[in-house]
């Protein structure tokens, strides 16, 4: 019963990635880096969305620019497919590590406590796992809605402005987007804070700055993403 010795484990991997992946600290670093890739995309996406306020030509033109970028070296839409591939790899690494670590955590406490008041960590920290699930499900809906256009009432490729205006005139679509974006905000609030610690850059001297950065970035991204749907709903963007 007593843990007399450390249990045997398979020989150490010879590749750096293998060594990182076999360690919980390494896996958290993988989550931090893949999360950073996703965060960079989310920031670019949010800033691009704001072109909706500059009128139909601005955002439709931006969409066309992204598709024509790098021609003739890249094929039509080449940049987008490169970005999509990178995102897919990052999402796969992020989710696989998260699921494996969550399962490890469950095994580490097979019997729970009879009395356990709410944990002292932040709401954002407690909702990371389910928040991630909500975001993943939302991304599927979002791709069907505004990328493929299947679930969009207008649904014409390239006519970004008309698609979003048609979309966000329905209050329940705005509600769905709001839920997802707020979930993303909470996820980023703890994700940025935790990711910087996972990578070991949050020293005691920088602790306050790390916390403030996490909050500031997540609030800015949440506000930026929510501005377009609400502007359409209230007739500011039409």
């Amino acid at each position: 019963m007593a843990l007399k010795s450390v249990p045997a484990r398979p020989p150490e991997s010879r590749t750096t990635v293998g060594r990182l992946w076999s360690s919980t600290v390494g896996k958290k670093a993988v989550m931090a880096v893949s999360g950073a890739v996703l965060l960079l995309y989310v920031v670019a996406h949010m800033v691009g969305n704001l072109k909706a306020f500059a009128g139909q030509e601005s955002i439709d033109g931006y969409s066309a620019f992204l598709r024509e970028f790098g021609q003739p070296i890249l094929p039509h839409g080449g940049l987008l497919w490169i970005v999509r591939t990178a995102l897919l790899v990052a999402v796969a690494a992020h989710m696989t590590a998260a699921i494996q670590l969550a399962r490890r955590a469950r095994r580490a406490r097979p019997a729970g406590y009879e009395r356990r008041p709410k944990v002292q960590g932040s709401y954002a920290a407690r909702t990371m796992r389910w928040g991630g699930v909500i975001i993943a499900l939302f991304v599927v809906y979002h791709l069907l809605d505004l990328t493929a256009g299947v679930l969009n009432p207008h649904g014409v490729q390239g006519e970004v402005h008309s698609n979003i205006v048609a979309d966000f005139q329905r209050w329940y679509v705005v509600l769905a987007y709001t839920v997802a974006v707020v979930a993303l905000g909470f996820h980023l609030r703890h994700g940025i804070y935790s990711g910087l610690r996972s990578l070991g850059v949050a020293s005691a001297a920088r602790a306050k700055a790390v916390k403030a950065t996490a909050l500031g970035v997540s609030v800015a991204i949440t506000a930026g993403f929510l501005s377009v749907p609400f502007a359409v709903l209230f007739g500011i963007v039409r």
Partner: protein, 248 residues
């Protein structure tokens, strides 16, 4: 005063456990939590029942032996305080006080409130030392240590290995414990040569023993009787990653 203590009773490692209510009168506000358990045990022995098994030693808050989950909080409601230094005045007699053992797969219950925490020793054995034989204590001024480093190292060295961080962590992780050990050696000149390999090996032992990973919820530092800061884990992560990025 009269308190209801709702205590986890378990006859052995494999036995089924349950919470049992005990009415204990004669508890004074100045009694420590362990003294209240002593009082309960005296009554149980007089009644011919088995006393409640719990770990304790110095009762001065410095040895790390005591440690109970009290109303769902490791070491009870008072911050930066071990169970032995907690007083009964912290509790309202109107509500039963729930007392449970630390819960983690690497901390099997031995009996009642006693768990086997030797997994923490296994982590220390994996690298929590300095290999170079240094002889007797050197002249204190021979190796200068910057004051902030000395203070931070001492802050981590205050870890008494009670296991409250593991008990409180939603992931059953020992990261705060391991980080404290890694930090108090890694900040001092003697600990430099083995800094990253030590961190890597201790983190590896922690994984192999079945502890969970850290998600930075900060539960551990909130219950740590020595107030070891969460940033200690960030420092450990840096050293562990440094160790993992280069081959042995």
């Amino acid at each position: 005063m009269n308190y209801t203590l709702r205590v986890w009773r378990q006859d052995g490692p494999a036995a089924e456990g349950r919470l049992v209510d005990y009415e204990v009168d004669g508890i004074t506000p100045d009694m420590s939590f362990l003294e209240a358990l002593d009082l309960l045990n005296e009554r149980l022995v007089l009644d011919g029942e088995e006393p409640v098994a719990f770990d304790h030693d110095c009762r001065e808050g410095i040895c790390g032996m005591c440690g109970l989950m009290i109303d769902g909080v490791a070491h009870g409601p008072q911050r930066a305080t071990t169970t032995c230094q907690l007083h009964m005045r912290s509790f309202d007699p109107a509500h039963p006080v729930v007392v449970e053992p630390w819960r983690a797969h690497p901390f099997p219950v031995v009996r009642d409130l006693v768990v086997d925490r030797s997994a923490l020793d296994r982590i220390v054995e994996a690298g929590g030392y300095i290999s170079a034989p240094t002889g007797s204590a050197p002249e204190a001024h021979a190796v200068p240590v910057p004051k902030p480093d000395a203070d931070e190292a001492f802050e981590s060295a205050a870890c008494i290995g009670c296991g409250a961080c593991v008990a409180a962590c939603p992931n059953g992780s020992a990261s705060l414990f391991t980080a404290a050990k890694v930090t108090h050696l890694g900040l001092l000149p003697q600990g430099q040569p083995e800094r990253t390999s030590r961190a890597r090996d201790m983190a590896q032992a922690q994984d192999d023993l079945g502890f969970g990973g850290c998600t930075q919820t900060g539960e551990c530092t909130a219950v740590c009787p020595k107030g070891i800061p969460l940033e200690t884990i960030s420092r450990m992560n840096r050293d562990v990653l440094g160790g993992l990025l280069r081959s042995r």
